[in-house]
């Protein structure tokens, strides 16, 4: 078991240490950086943290928290236990703040890179959506902003809060202060600490007691959703008896000038609440040799804090040069359920180290893990999963299914399942398979009139069905096409 990443789960009390309340010295020096400046200078120090906080007009508690995180970060080392390789990152050579930039506005789609357009076509992305993604001016009627406005008023009727993290910090500070860092404390790991110190923006969701969110909450509909920057922070709170399904990302290829992305997502599900979180991640993976691709180092964790609560993660990962993320669930409430459904595709020189952690604390807690890795080209795809059954977790059950699909013979798939069970009444099942799409299979398909590209899509969709079925319908269709596009030219 790796020891570099630590939980702050206190097994004896079954409690999460909300925040490691280390003494925080008040900052003794005045804040000097010019507030009008649009870019913070390169590098990271306390002044930069203050600058970011001031720019965002944050309340005192937020700044203090950021500073504590920053000071803690200074004591930490970058983790290296993942099965990925990359040149060292110089953290003093990055910009940690840039004012949200205006996108370049194009007059029509003809000005868009034809290669990008071809990909959009293949993904079946509508013209309006294409315009939105590439920054072409959109007609007033179909403007996503107006859609989002009607959408917001519907949510407001139910008392649902769905806004950017920056807005939440200003307008709902009591909620933010109560919950931020309660699931992923800044002490959690190197990148979580960094994110806590300098997070740029992200989403905030609060579903009040007894409310079933009437629609999928998608980042797409959140004004200011784009340009959340490289240190995204998302917080979702589902109060008692509530339900929400949240969608992050989109299937269209996402380019970004920042190479390092270190996001944090926290979910809290109270008694009887259910949260479904679906992601499609399609960051730029770099060229064939991985040059210029994005490093995506994410900490995602949910806590089923109340009895009978449920958190379900579904992810389709096709992008980034390097990905490591382990959406996890802490099953604290009795009878709570955690689920993880994942498809992770790597092609060319991509590297992915993903998986999940299911931490069973309460009685009769159940978790289910379905991980489908697809490796093509000379990529490396690792599954890393931890199932931990605590002492009090009587009758806890886990089922894990970890499959790998290899395309060709230059790629790699690796599985690292870890199990720590300290309750004898627990049942844990693990199944794993590895299959390969070789020339034989493709020739067989060809011989039946099915082209190689279609054969790959057919096989991959069959292979991923169980995960795709978890996605909201429209999203699933797009995600299927995305898989096909990501694997284009990977075989034959």
């Amino acid at each position: 078991m790796n020891t570099t990443e630590e939980y702050t789960v206190d097994e004896k009390n079954g409690e999460i240490d909300i925040l490691d309340e280390v003494t925080s010295r008040e900052y003794q020096y005045g804040f000097v950086t010019d507030i009008e400046q649009e870019f913070a200078p390169k590098g990271l120090n306390e002044d930069i943290v203050r600058f970011i906080s001031a720019k965002k007009e944050e309340p005192e508690f937020m700044l203090n928290w950021r500073l504590k995180a920053y000071r803690h970060w200074l004591t930490m080392k970058e983790p290296h236990w993942q099965n990925v390789q990359y040149a060292p990152i110089d953290f003093q050579d990055l910009h940690y703040y840039a004012a949200p930039k205006k996108k370049i506005t194009l007059n029509n789609l003809d000005e868009v890179d034809p290669e990008l357009r071809a990909t959009f076509e293949k993904l079946g992305i509508s013209l309006d959506e294409q315009k939105r993604l590439t920054g072409v001016a959109v007609d007033a009627v179909l403007d996503s902003v107006s859609v989002a406005t009607t959408f917001k008023s519907k949510l407001a009727e139910k008392g649902i809060i769905f806004c950017s993290m920056s807005e939440a910090v200003k307008n709902h500070p009591e909620l933010v202060e109560k919950y931020i860092g309660s699931v992923v404390p800044y002490t959690d790991n190197f990148y979580a600490a960094l994110n806590s110190a300098v997070f740029s923006d992200g989403s905030f969701v609060y579903i009040p007691k007894g409310v079933r969110c009437p629609m999928e909450l998608s980042t797409y509909f959140r004004i200011n959703a784009s340009n959340t920057g490289q240190f995204e922070r998302t917080l979702i709170i589902a109060d008692e008896d509530s339900y929400v399904s949240y969608l992050e990302g989109c299937t269209a290829p996402m380019r970004d000038e920042h190479q390092l992305h270190a996001a944090v997502v926290e979910i809290v599900a109270h008694t009887n609440a259910e949260v479904k979180y679906s992601t499609v991640q399609n960051w730029y993976p770099g060229d064939k040799d991985g040059r210029g691709g994005i490093y995506n180092f994410v900490t995602k964790r949910g806590i089923c804090s109340g009895n009978n609560s449920k958190i379900s993660w579904t992810q389709v990962e096709t992008g980034s040069a390097i990905t490591w993320k382990y959406p996890s669930v802490i099953l604290k409430g009795d009878n709570s359920i955690g689920e993880f459904y994942s498809v992770a595709v790597t092609n060319n020189a991509q590297q992915a180290d993903t998986g999940t952690k299911m931490i069973h604390i309460g009685k009769n807690t159940r978790s289910r893990i379905v991980s489908k890795g697809i490796s093509a080209g000379k990529s490396q795809n690792s599954y890393r999963g931890l199932v931990r059954i605590g002492k009090r977790a009587d009758n806890a059950r886990n089922f894990s299914q970890c499959d790998s699909l290899l395309m060709g013979d230059k790629c790699g798939a690796h599985t690292f399942p870890y199990l720590e069970a300290s309750n004898k009444t627990a049942t844990v099942e693990h199944e794993a398979t590895t299959s390969k799409i070789g020339e034989d299979i493709l020739f067989y398909c060809n011989q039946r009139g099915i082209s190689t590209e279609e054969a790959v899509a057919l096989i991959v969709n069959g292979y991923c069905k169980e995960v795709m079925n978890q996605l909201p319908m429209e999203f699933a269709v797009e995600a299927q096409k995305l898989l096909a596009v990501s694997l284009e030219g990977s075989v034959g």
């Binding site: 020739f443 398909c445 060809n446 099915i450 069959g462």
Partner: protein
């Protein structure tokens, strides 16, 4: 329909087919026999367009087109079908889904509308009956965990679904039990008509009792060294290949 002229093929630098000549007319049934390793499967694979083979020379025309110029999927869409000696397993893809993709691809190529789910299901039920295939096999992953005989029967079921103009059956009889052999052979007979031809690659006469060939060829060391009518197969059954091998050796002197 199919004309092979002086076809020479090598695999991994070794010349396996050393000048094959063969002509197949619509409605005909040909049997290709010959000792192990003589090149029968190689011939079938080359015709179907498998990548590992290098064509050194010769021509093949199929339905008036240059076969060797077509991509493997286009050969299939033109109506060439190969029942594999060793069918592959495709986990996660049901037999039905696989065939739906295949049938609709072929239809698209021919300018026909794709079949909807209901039409496809009806067709599948109909064809499953033809080879007496258990309907539960249709929803299972393609060939996954199928017994040897079940795989062979599934090949002929696929042939029934795709209605090829030229079907090459590579040792479809091996692995089938006595009853299954009869059922599958009857299925093949029902699929044949004056426009459709069949090539049977086999080691045994018993298949030819059910599917009676118009022509029998002996492939030996990459050449067709003897051709005849159905009685040639009987003669081989009785005498083995030694007399043919001797004839070839004599001719070479």
């Amino acid at each position: 329909m199919l004309r092979i002229h002086d076809l020479r093929v090598s695999v991994a630098g070794k010349e396996i087919l050393q000048g094959i000549n063969l002509e197949i007319n619509p409605g005909e049934t040909h049997a290709i026999m010959g000792p192990n390793g003589s090149g029968k499967s190689t011939l079938a694979s080359v015709l179907a367009g498998r990548a590992d083979y290098e064509v050194l020379g010769g021509e093949v025309s199929f339905m008036g087109k240059d076969l060797l110029d077509l991509a493997p999927e286009d050969r299939a869409r033109e109506g060439l079908f190969l029942a594999f000696q060793y069918p592959v397993e495709i986990p996660g893809v049901s037999n039905a889904n696989f065939l739906k993709a295949a049938v609709n691809e072929v239809r698209k190529y021919r300018g026909q509308e794709p079949l909807d789910a209901m039409e496809f299901l009806a067709l599948m039920k109909d064809k499953a009956k033809l080879v007496e295939m258990d309907p539960s096999m249709l929803s299972r992953s393609l060939n996954e965990g199928f017994s040897g005989g079940e795989k062979k029967r599934n090949e002929i079921f696929q042939m029934a679904m795709l209605e090829p103009v030229l079907a090459i059956l590579d040792e479809t009889d091996s692995g089938l039990d006595i009853d299954a052999l009869r059922i599958v052979a009857e299925g093949v007979n029902k699929l044949q008509n004056e426009h459709r031809s069949v090539v049977l690659i086999t080691h045994y006469q018993r298949l030819l009792n059910y599917i009676v060939p118009d022509h029998v060829h002996v492939l030996y060391k990459g050449r067709i060294v003897k051709s005849g009518g159905k009685e040639l197969a009987l003669e081989l059954e009785e005498k083995g290949y030694d007399w043919i091998k001797n004839e070839v050796a004599q001719a070479a002197v």
